[in-house]
Symmetry: C2
Subunit: 326 residues, 2 copies
DNA sequence: CTGAAAGCGCTTACAG
DNA sequence: CTGAAAGCGCTTACAG
């Protein structure tokens, strides 16, 4: 059997309470005592049982990542960043995917809180702005950190990039390439990032004294299929745009495919840019010009805010990545 | 505060032991008693605390997925399948990514077992065949299920597809298209699937009386970059192949990019096929001919084996998907 | 700076 | 078919 706190206590000649103090790095432990306990911990290869710590104390040493599926690459990068940070504190991560629009979402989060008592949750879009979920967490007194929230940024700790500025910079790049008729494909309406990126697109056009044409703004769903559909509609017009700025790399990839099918040269006939710098941005042909969003860093910082005592907001830098598609 | 088992017991006029029996679906509970307890559970919205169940009992209601990063899409599909199955039993999933080749892997798994007492682990390649890891789990008496193991399939419950047959079928498709000089890009040597897919490739060529040329077998690492490198080497030859069968879709995507750079027509000048039918197989241009591997189903079955009592092996069907790249 | 006692919310082992 | 007692391995609240 594995060593327990009792074994460590008797091996080092102290009470279990003192071992507990050492484990939790509390003050007021004699230097010599601490050394002896640490030696016994190492000797016995003792690791505290999380269930016992959770049941006895105020922390569970678990956090949960609630996410649906914008893109596997996004979710995976989020998990990596969160893991990187949680590992430092010995905190475990519960993966809590859910199906978008599932009516059971509330019940599942409620059950998660009741059964697992997570020390906190990390919310990604569109949950970052889901009022019902936020209200539930606040009612139950569970800490949470939001990734890329839209409104009420100060309502909770949060991490994000400047989506408006980033979209504006990307659009300005297209303007600098000589484009005047630039289309934009948006994400879902309930993603705050959709509206933010649209705002940045508008701002760039207005600054360049280019009329914003409502017909060139097409709704998408951040995925490949909706990007393909949007591009098809745009390129079927009598007066097609010369450039398409898609709100995600997946949608840009869909647009690329449609352009290829139509035998168009890229970027000669149609320039295409994405957003995110997902791995697939480098897979497609030609490689995508896009805006890098540091997802793994955002995730690391989200976990850092959750585990730490700092209740702030953190904005991380974005970066324009120019490749062959523009 | 949330209701506990005591609240349910007093609300239904029984002992906590009887409530426990109902929760665990044990036999020998009177029908009327069971009904009363269930009513109280619903009324109080009672959910048993997992930490307490774990500490008191033999199960922790947690399983862990140990995985590195072959591809985010693969990992994500695995998580979805596992989640789908675990949800049914109210079991939570600990995401335990690790860095490939990390010397700390052993210690991390050891710590995971000690601190979280998972009811079982799911291992994906290359861990499915990592003798040191398997030995550790067996020594500590932790159940595990392997996904796509190579040797000693009967050593543990396992799920897989017929990689040899699948690779053979894909190669036969290329032969049927008239190709005689078919190259193969393999995955890492420590992935059993690499050798299996290579064996299928060889078998198809031999069955078609085509000489297997060692020079046309190039090592890769299952990722985009290694696929691009391999294709570059193959297409630089004086006598390049007319078709490339890459052991993964990511490598095939890398090969596609190289072919585009060289101005080659696909599949006219060079046919390219992948393996897996990842989402990206449909993103690239032209869309990839590939072999569908039902990752989510494999994952569901892995979790099912872990949670159930059936200690078998399960082979799932694969399917050839012919698209524009061949 | 250290420890004895009680308790977290369940399950187990035993008794009836 | 049901229950009383003990225990899982920690932390808390209190005392010294």
């Amino acid at each position: 059997m594995r060593a327990t706190i009792k074994d460590v206590a008797s091996a080092s000649g102290v009470s279990i309470k003192t071992v507990s103090r050492v484990l939790n790095n509390e003050r007021y432990v004699g230097v010599a005592t601490r050394k002896r306990v640490e030696a016994a911990v190492a000797e016995l290869d003792f690791r505290p049982n999380l269930a016992a710590r959770s049941l006895g104390g105020r922390r569970s040493f678990h956090i949960a990542l609630i996410c649906d599926n914008p893109s596997p690459a996004y979710v995976y990068a989020m998990q990596q960043g969160i893991r990187d940070r949680c590992e430092i504190d010995g905190v475990r991560v519960l993966a809590q995917p859910y199906d978008r629009g599932s009516p059971r979402l509330h019940g599942e989060i409620d059950a998660l809180i009741s059964t697992s008592n997570p020390d906190g949750l990390i919310l990604t879009p569109p949950l970052s702005d889901d009022e019902a979920v936020l209200a539930l967490l606040e009612k139950r007194g569970v800490r949470y950190v939001r990734v890329s929230p839209g409104a009420h940024v100060e309502r909770s700790p949060a991490v994000y990039i400047d989506n408006i500025g980033a979209a504006r910079a990307l659009t300005e790049h297209l303007v600098a390439r000589g484009h005047r008729r630039i289309a934009h494909v948006t994400g879902q309406r309930d993603y705050a990032t959709s509206a933010q990126r649209l705002a940045g697109y508008r701002a760039a056009l207005e600054a360049a004294a280019i009329l914003v044409e409502p017909d060139l703004i097409v709704p998408g769903r951040y995925d490949f299929a909706s990007g393909a559909e949007a591009a098809d509609a745009l390129l079927s017009r009598k007066d097609p745009p010369s450039a398409i700025f898609a709100g995600s790399d997946e949608m840009a990839a869909g647009a690329l495919m449609v352009a290829h099918r139509r035998g168009l040269a890229i970027p000669g006939d149609i320039a295409i840019a994405g957003f995110g710098d997902d791995a697939l941005a480098s897979y497609v042909w030609p490689p995508l010009t896009t805006m890098r969003q540091p997802v793994r860093d955002l995730a690391w910082n989200a976990a850092d805010l959750l585990l730490g005592t700092d209740d702030g907001q953190r904005q991380l830098p974005h970066a324009l990545v120019v490749r062959g598609s523009t």
